[in-house]
């Protein structure tokens, strides 16, 4: 049976504790992330969702407990995961193409090869023609497309996205969300998505993990099923979509000051 779960789950988090000195950021947290799906970590600020994502990325060590990627224990960052940052984390002194190929450069891929791969993903995210622009010449939304292309170009199985759309404007965000749904459908990757927007989580996710603070724990796992196959335009009018949004707000409202 254990074999079966490891083949279905791309990421498994088991009994993870994380303490910062006296403060308990995560307490006995266990969670599975099914392969090929998008799972949102949703919760009020201070519930430890970004901490959990960075633990899975291998950027922060756990106090105890373990994280497995395809059954392999995480001891640090690895080529099986790629991270998309809330503030984009682009190198301001490099052009778009250099930024997108940066992950490949660190992995020792030759220049001509990595720039060919980068070029493909620059076109994919809709930035063709901007290869030799610098980040400060781009809008916020375009910068995050660079961050996304960089994460895609290393071809990791698991994409870790830390509130990737929170720093872009509302209309760009909607476009991003539609693009992300297509990406989940077409790329055979597992997406972990941190957000504080209820609508965004319900709109995008195959699975929503509701995290609550004090102490941080998974309070509920919701799997929207009825509208996932629907057209991107009609999801927001679906009654199940609206019900789930209401239900999550009921659980969260007591935590919002």
């Amino acid at each position: 049976m254990n074999d079966k779960t490891t083949s279905v789950n791309a990421v498994e988090v088991r009994n993870v504790y994380k303490n910062y000195n006296e403060v308990e950021a995560l307490q006995d947290l266990s969670l599975d992330f099914p392969k090929g799906e998008l799972t949102s970590l949703l919760g009020p600020s201070g519930c430890g969702k970004t901490t959990l994502l960075k633990i899975i990325a291998g950027l922060i060590p756990t106090t105890s407990g373990e994280v497995k990627i395809n059954g392999k224990k995480v001891t640090g960052p690895g080529p099986d995961r790629a991270f998309v940052f809330q503030d984009f984390a682009l190198l301001p002194w490099e052009t778009v193409i250099k930024n997108v190929s940066f992950g490949l450069e660190l992995r020792g891929v030759a220049k001509s090869e990595r720039e060919a791969i980068a070029e493909k993903y620059i076109v994919d995210v809709g930035l063709a023609g901007f290869e030799h622009k610098f980040p400060h010449q781009l809008s916020g939304g375009m910068r995050q497309r660079v961050g996304l292309a960089r994460a895609l170009s290393v071809d990791a199985e698991v994409l870790l996205m830390d509130e990737p759309f929170s720093a872009v404007d509302e209309q760009t965000r909607r476009k991003f969300q539609e693009d992300l749904l297509n990406l989940v459908k077409n790329e055979n990757k597992t997406f972990l998505f941190v957000t504080h927007s209820i609508e965004e989580a319900v709109y995008l996710s195959d699975q929503i993990a509701l995290l609550l603070p004090r102490p941080s724990r998974v309070s509920e796992i919701i799997r929207p099923s009825g509208f996932r196959h629907k057209d991107v335009d009609s999801i927001r009018r679906d009654s199940e979509y609206l019900d789930i949004v209401d239900r999550i707000w009921d659980s969260l409202r007591t935590y919002v000051e």
Partner: protein, 250 residues
């Protein structure tokens, strides 16, 4: 600069001061200040002489070596201090002490330790330049966006990768301004070293001309020194401008 609505050409303030200098020199107010034209005549006479070229190469060599060590040691040490709390706490007091220390007073000690030759002069030059380079590199690293470092880690950057591809570039605007100030201090350092340690190079020329009251010679050498320092400083400032496009957007 604008005056009465007219755009004045670049460096017009230099022209005004040069003219004033010429007038003061021509009326022979003080032997200390000969006329500017006389200084330029002297300059054109001595600039091709053997002693001058020898002095120039001696000073140039000591300056080059001194600033080379200041840059190659100062930048990595500064970056390490910015990155690592332990190293920072160990070294910062010393850096601050030496930054404000009267280094000239240390020169006799250096002479005892390292002899009367080039070595002591180079070390003096390095000591004049290095502290501000360290402090500026450290400040540059301190303001790095932490998510850039996390980004590099998440893509598997080894410490050396992070050092060369993140820290150095992110801190480059501050590093360059530290190097620029350091080089100007090094000009002072190399002359003081050549005056106090062994009377060679431009230091020897200054010593000779001032003791013989050859003021136009003295000013001629000073003008050459100023021109060199100004050129180096302008060159580094132009490098700074080349990275300024991202200095405010990191």
């Amino acid at each position: 600069m604008k005056l009465f609505g007219y755009q004045l050409p670049a460096m017009s303030s230099l022209l005004i001061w040069g003219l004033l200098w010429e007038i003061v020199g021509q009326v022979e107010l003080t032997f200390f200040l000969p006329a500017l034209s006389e200084i330029f005549v002297t300059l054109s006479e001595i600039i091709t002489t053997k002693p001058f070229i020898k002095a120039l190469s001696e000073t140039g060599q000591a300056f080059f070596l001194g600033t080379f060590f200041a840059v190659t040691v100062g930048i990595p040490v500064g970056i390490l201090m910015g990155k690592n709390q332990l190293i920072d706490e160990l070294l910062l007091p010393w850096v601050n002490v030496f930054l404000s220390a009267p280094l000239t007073a240390l020169v006799p000690v250096l002479m005892i330790l390292f002899g009367f030759g080039l070595k002591s002069i180079v070390i003096t030059t390095t000591l004049f330049a290095i502290w501000i380079i360290i402090l500026n590199s450290r400040a540059g690293v301190k303001q790095i966006n932490p998510s850039l470092v996390e980004m590099a880690q998440s893509f598997g950057a080894k410490p050396m990768d992070a050092f060369l591809k993140i820290y150095f570039w992110a801190a480059l605007p501050e590093i360059l301004s530290g190097v620029r100030i350091g080089f100007i201090r090094a000009v002072k350092g190399v002359i003081i070293g050549q005056l106090l340690i062994s009377i060679v190079g431009f230091g020897a020329l200054f010593e000779l001309y001032s003791s013989q009251f050859l003021m136009s010679h003295f000013w001629a050498v000073l003008l050459v020194l100023f021109a060199m320092a100004f050129t180096i400083s302008e060159f580094l400032a132009s490098l700074e401008r080349r990275v300024s496009y991202y200095a405010s957007k990191r």
